[in-house]
């Protein structure tokens, strides 16, 4: 067990090093993303600002609270982009036979699929996320004490795994369909619409699905509400960060079952 952890840590660090070296090999690439990616979210946030100015609030959430929620959502989006963006492009990996190499190496295939390439471009999403989040924290008077910091870490880890799990579970459909479908667009749309705005603005049936079936509500809405003391329909006050973490583990576990079931259908690629 311990030697296993040491092995995976050592390989992860090597992959990280290679990813960093690759970024330095093509610096212009990073600069392009550094300009375009933050812009996308700043414009998104400006839209919220406009809506709030016109209508006062969204589902009872004021401007500062919305900034807090929006910022938190983008930060976990950025983290999921760094670690799990491959899920969006799994169709390409299936068709082009990328899994051949993973299957030939003495490590977990899912681990290799996720971590062989860290997408450091995802860092460019972190910047707008942090800006909007810190702005929101100031607006709502959020205190960075130990308890709150631990809660934030738990939320972000859970949220990243919920997102990553959904990417991988959806991407795994490529093992059956054997076709190239780029899931990025749909998936991002789904998460943007459900994590950047208060879930309570949606009909109850949608809320139910996003709370219990596909627990996207735990990415940002419930934990943000709890950290700011806004009451929701969610039960057990104080538990939201832990539920986020648990939901992350659960979603990822389900995704991994789907992934390995799909991998059995894998047929490699012809020459």
């Amino acid at each position: 067990m311990l030697s296993g952890i040491r092995h995976y840590t050592s390989v992860t660090l090597a992959y990280l090093k290679l990813s960093i070296l690759t970024v330095f090999e093509y610096p212009a690439n990073m600069i392009g993303w550094l300009i375009s990616n933050p812009l996308q979210f700043i414009v998104g946030f400006a839209t919220i600002q406009f809506v709030v100015k016109e209508f006062g609030d969204i589902a009872g959430w004021n401007y500062g609270q919305l900034a807090f929620l929006y910022g938190l959502a983008i930060i976990s989006h950025a983290l999921s982009m760094i670690f799990f963006v491959q899920g969006w492009f799994m169709g390409y990996s299936v068709i082009e036979g990328d899994f051949d190499r993973y299957l030939l190496r003495p490590m977990s295939v899912l681990y290799q699929f996720c971590f062989t390439q860290f997408n450091l471009i995802g860092i460019t999403d972190l910047i707008p996320g942090l800006c909007v989040f810190i702005y929101g924290c100031i607006q709502v008077g959020f205190v960075f004490n130990l308890r709150n910091i631990l809660a934030l870490v738990a939320i972000l880890v859970g949220a990243t795994f919920i997102r990553g799990g959904v990417y991988i579970a959806i991407g795994s459909s490529s093992f059956w369909s054997k076709s190239i479908v780029d899931f990025g667009g749909y998936t991002q749309e789904l998460f943007d619409k459900t994590t950047m705005y208060p879930l309570s603005m949606y009909p109850e049936s949608v809320q139910f699905i996003l709370t219990f079936i596909i627990p996207i509500g735990w990415v940002s809405f419930y934990p943000a509400a709890e950290l700011m003391g806004i009451s929701t329909d969610a039960f057990m006050p104080g538990a939201a960060p832990l539920i986020s973490l648990g939901a992350g583990a659960l979603v990822f576990a389900v995704a991994s079952v789907v992934f390995y079931a799909g991998l059995k259908k894998y047929e490699s690629a012809g020459n």
């Binding site: 992959y15 290679l18 070296l21 690759t22 051949d100 299957l103 190496r105 003495p106 059995k264 490699s268």
Partner: protein, 328 residues
């Protein structure tokens, strides 16, 4: 000791039959007619430690599918492959620790970075101890001169250099079995020479068992003591090169130069080529000896020059692919 045991290995693919046009497409949504394609049928053979074995067969014969099942990439439909006594499909991680695999048309090297970075990664993935890593790199440098190119980004390497890099990457963890899928494809003469020398050397020095698929006759002639011919997913021939030749191409060719454009004939030899003063006869070794044939032809018509050719690997492969009934 058997390094690899292949037992009744079978791989079927299900292919959806497609109907014609829009009507067919809609029908397909509801009724899926599946055809089963047998890519590999009931294959059994054993490979001993230290052998160099060539897998040959036409494109689509099932070579790659077989190699992929032997290395754990594909799961067999039925049957099993044991590598060093372990079932590949059940103990993937353990088995691959002892395998090196190189695909001629794909690289496992990191395209963007210097070659050495990929080697360092292998060291960690396979948990190779420092000393063994250095020692192996030194051996590889002696055979392939890898240190000359270790600091060059992989994208700037020539195909031959990249292949050398791929071979080293596959051998750093000292696997006892090396799979090579068309290792010399697209290489120039020097490149092929280097790869073949490498294969012979690691086989000699480390006793590595090598299994390669190839369309290159030179590879087979220079490397392989044993030939496995696969066609339509079935084992056609299995044995030493010499033996396979004797069995499926037991003939020689006699090339005769006459003084004029008229060629002699002989009942036990087939005149299959005649142009100008040159005539070529094919004869079975069992029917007549070369000496006898020359003597009898020359007694009827004066001969200027003769030479004798053995059946080439080209001939053997052609016969194996198309069946022995076909005119050669």
């Amino acid at each position: 000791m058997a390094v690899i045991e292949v037992k009744n290995l079978t791989k079927d693919y299900k292919v959806n039959k497609k109907g014609k046009g829009l009507g067919g497409a809609i029908k397909n949504l509801f009724v899926r007619e599946k055809t089963i394609v047998h890519a590999v049928k009931d294959l059994s053979f054993t490979i001993e430690k230290g052998e160099i074995v060539a897998f040959i067969g036409p494109n689509g014969a099932g070579k790659s599918t077989t190699v992929k099942m032997m290395s754990g990439i594909l799961n067999p439909t039925s049957g099993q492959v044991l590598v060093n006594g372990k079932d590949v499909a059940k103990k993937r991680k353990e088995v691959v620790m002892d395998l090196g695999v190189v695909f001629g048309q794909r690289t496992q090297l990191n395209w963007d970075l210097r070659l050495g970075e990929s080697f360092e990664l292998m060291k960690r993935i396979y948990q190779i101890p420092d000393e063994r890593y250095k020692e192996n790199l030194k051996v590889m440098d002696d055979i392939l001169g890898i240190n000359e190119i270790i600091d060059i980004p992989v994208r700037q390497l020539s195909l031959g250099q990249r292949m050398r890099g791929d071979l080293v990457a596959a051998m750093l963890h000292s696997p006892s079995v090396l799979f090579l899928d068309e290792p010399t494809i697209g290489l120039d003469v020097d490149g092929k020479y280097a790869i073949r020398k490498f294969i012979k050397e690691i086989n000699r020095v480390k006793g590595t068992t090598v299994i390669l698929t190839t369309h290159d006759l030179g590879d087979i002639q220079e490397l392989c003591e044993r030939l496995i011919i696969i066609n339509n997913g079935e084992l056609m021939e299995d044995g030493p090169l010499q033996e396979v030749t004797e069995r499926i191409a037991p003939f020689k060719t006699l090339v005769v130069e006459f003084y004029d454009g008229e060629a002699g004939v002989h009942p036990k030899a087939e005149l299959f080529y005649h142009e100008g003063n040159i005539a070529k006869y094919r004869f079975r070794k069992a029917d007549i000896t070369a000496a006898q044939l020359i003597e009898e032809i020359s007694s009827a018509k004066e001969i200027k020059d003769v030479s004798i050719e053995e059946a080439s690997i080209d001939d053997i492969i052609r016969i194996a692919y198309h069946g022995s009934n076909e005119k050669i």
